[in-house]
Symmetry: C2
Subunit: 116 residues, 2 copies
Amino acid sequence: MDERQALAAFAALSQETRLQIVRLLVVAGADGMAAGALAERVEVSPSNISFHLKELERAGLITQQRESRSIIYRAGYDALGGLVRFLMEDCCGGHPEICAPAVAAASCCAPAGAKA
Amino acid sequence: MDERQALAAFAALSQETRLQIVRLLVVAGADGMAAGALAERVEVSPSNISFHLKELERAGLITQQRESRSIIYRAGYDALGGLVRFLMEDCCGGHPEICAPAVAAASCCAPAGAKA
DNA sequence: TCCATATTTCAATAATCCTTGAATAGTTGA
DNA sequence: TCAACTATTCAAGGATTATTGAAATATGGA
């Protein structure tokens, strides 16, 4: 992840519809969701969801895969992780306790036993 | 962290100068940096850095504190952590191994021994 | 008080982004 | 092949955001 990619990713996430899409896909996990299903959930037109999905893909935050008539979108967990890493690089000047809140945040779904 | 705050935060991070500011402050830790020092490092005019610092503060990502003539800015690690948590909420549909890359990302500066 | 330092505010211009609806393209089953 | 379903593309208009330089504010020391 370089600065250019990070900027594109943050820009992608700074729009309501797109942020909702990413969050839905993050929850959906490996199953992903079809474009139409996403459009229903976030209540926007097909053409509008398509516009935003393209933007998210261009930013590298989601992937697409055709499955019969539908196109399934999935969260790009690697890219999301890379984004967090880029933002927190060399953080807190050697005093880990200072940025503990930020670090702890990502233990979101770690299996019991793994700690941040 | 609600959606409104998250959108403001991502919008704030989606601009080159502001992203550089946040990254510098994340590295600076508790010491923070003065507005002028930031302006020098990212090579923009005083008025421009001021504009972007205000934007970052409005988004809740940084804090300011006057110290004699200078105004010292510091990263808001709580807000950054909250942002990550918001993005990853209920992630990966109950399959933690899928979003492991994202979770691992935030072990950035964890003290030796802690791992994600 | 006067000057220098450090930073912010303001107004105007330039650039970018979102929404909308109609038209187009790919896939499937009859 | 035809019709239905699913999704994307395109162009136009409206709205938001960044940059610039000059002027203003706040602080500290002579």
